[in-house]
Subunit: 365 residues, 2 copies
């Protein structure tokens, strides 16, 4: 059967390996597997959220309130915007997908960083749009602007903090860049890890309210998957002016998050103390990886997220990841992004102790 | 901002009103609201499934096994096919969306019944494809074939049993139709309510294994939202030959169902006795609506599903739905499908008793 030609170029997203796979393939007891590959919150979800999910398990048969009224109200309160500025997605991934389908087609182009969240490209390819990437590892907004002038992209992705590198853009640099972009170009500012950056360095804290009030062409995306500890529940959101949000809603399938997800996200917003505690512990533990890297003379990218990227020299990232995997430690080889590096989610104290010991055995020799 | 022109024609799906809305708008106690508008399973999910969800609530932070290994194995066993014949979606809706994007574009057309599941058209419109509909209320496969010869659609949707009418096609009629369709045309057979039809009339039981082995161009879709009582968990599946399934996987976003959804669906497949019991009770209760309709001289469409469609004469379906809504009973006015009718999900015995009494008050006079 002949399928749409644009599909020929799509390579599926390579997800972090699940614990079940390590158990199946290497016969390791699931309790001994340490998964630090997908930037999940190692402290889990808030106990309040877990209790809410357990209590509401009997509602599994009922579709959610498809207006997501209460969740939008909660987010509106949190960000100081209106409900009509908000769209809910199955992870912020889905909002990215809506944005791509709202503006891209085979006659348009999209601009993104050389190394960034892989789904931008995968979604864009499904529309046949031209993919334009910078050459720099980190977001170089001057290079972005040069390519913008040359290629006139209909869509620009800015990921701050960036995944899988961990770097963040200063808010002032971002707005200086946005000042130069015409309002017909949609700019997606992906803040999946923004809660971490905001705590580490207020200068990197991009606030959607200020952003969308000044730039009607900006769509900010956020997620419950990282700092809020709801990766498995699949819920994120987009914040923008109603013109954009209304259009994206046309692409939203009904009931795009689960009933329990909706309840979990509403509850999660009520426990910001939990989120703050997770982020504080994250950076305490990250310091141990930084100290380790310095000790063995390894380069790392200063991170504003819940993961750290170690750039390897003598060792091959693919082999290192495989060696760890066989010992029950799942991290991410990011060589497919064109960099000989491994990305490690910052785990809990006891997990990091084990991983750092294994890393020293493999890399320290 | 200028968005893709195809979006102009999209009208969003009109979901069944949630209980929360009735509580907000009419001040009715949520315990007094009867929602029979979205064909959820009124008996809920299997107690085993509910327990599993509650037990696994602490895993909300962990992404699911994105290969959905165990669920595919379970479905493969249930249907006698291989895992490579299966793709998992966030409801079977999402599989429909993948199918649309795999083959449709602005140069192609899609053929569907005049009255059928609204998402076929909504998804198709996003691609700019031409929408071709039959004129008959029920699936008239002769008319389908005439339109097929004339329009050469790239995609055909067959919904059996059909939503929102409830009618089912005989398996022999379906295969006689498929025999005449060229293998380059993708035919989606949407069996969201097939478990109900299979029990009511084995002649209407379409089995995906036989179907895909004979017709390499058929994609069968099924769901856990109806007979399995997992509407709120958002999980369905597509079954087809590997050529189709592999292509659809290119359009599948990672982690497209939640971690708890995955566990719930795996568990649900282990409790077929629960599913059978729900279906048996469904038809016992449906008989009460049929008796009622006959008594007051109202036309109804014989249903192979968990809902019944009453075709109104003197009364206006929109007004009847509104009257019921104000009394805390949510059913579906389907006048937007071009038919003066209401669709009622068959509820539990005590719910049906109340609804039938209110219907008699409104329609029986």
């Amino acid at each position: 059967m002949k399928f749409n030609a644009v599909l020929d170029s799509i390579k599926s997203y390579e997800a972090g390996k699940p614990i079940e796979l390590v158990v199946r393939e290497y016969g390791i007891d699931p309790r001994d597997v340490i998964k630090l590959a997908s930037n999940e919150n190692p402290y889990g979800a808030s106990p309040r959220v877990i209790q809410k999910i357990a209590d509401l398990a009997p509602t599994a048969s009922i579709y959610p309130d498809d207006s997501f009224f209460e969740l939008k109200e909660g987010l509106a309160g949190q960000y100081g915007v209106a409900s009509e500025n908000i769209i809910i997605g199955a992870g912020s991934d889905q909002i990215l997908e809506f944005a791509v389908h709202a503006v891209l087609n085979e006659n348009e182009s999209v601009l993104m960083n050389s190394i960034t969240f892989a789904m931008y490209e995968i979604y864009a390819k499904a529309t046949g749009a031209k993919i334009v990437k910078t050459s720099s590892v980190h977001h170089d907004l001057d290079e972005f602007y040069e390519l913008y002038k040359k290629e006139k992209p209909k869509l620009i992705f800015i990921c701050t903090p960036n995944n899988p590198t961990g770097e963040a853009i200063k808010n002032a640099d971002l707005t200086a860049f946005l000042d130069k972009i015409d309002p017909e170009t949609l700019v997606v500012v992906d803040g999946a890890y923004m809660e971490y950056a905001a705590l580490k360095d207020p200068a990197c804290h991009v606030e959607p309210k200020a952003l969308i009030q000044t730039y009607s062409n900006v769509l900010y995306t956020g997620t419950f998957s990282k700092a809020y500890g709801l990766g498995g529940m699949r819920v994120g959101y987009g914040i923008g002016m109603p013109e954009i949000i209304t259009t994206l809603h046309k692409l939203r399938p009904p009931f795009n998050i689960t009933t329990l997800t909706l309840a979990a996200a509403i509850e999660a917003l009520k426990d910001n103390a939990f989120v703050r505690g997770c982020i504080e512990r994250n950076f305490e533990e990250m310091a141990r990886y930084e100290t380790f890297a310095q000790k063995i003379g390894l380069e790392y990218i200063p991170s504003y997220t819940n993961f750290i990227t170690l750039v390897l020299k003598e060792h091959d990232s693919k082999k290192v990841a495989q060696q760890l995997l066989e010992q029950g430690v799942i991290i991410r080889d990011i060589s497919s992004y064109g960099i000989n590096a491994i990305r490690i989610t910052i785990g809990k104290k006891e997990q990091n102790t084990i991983v750092l010991r294994k890393l020293e055995e493999i890399l320290g020799s």
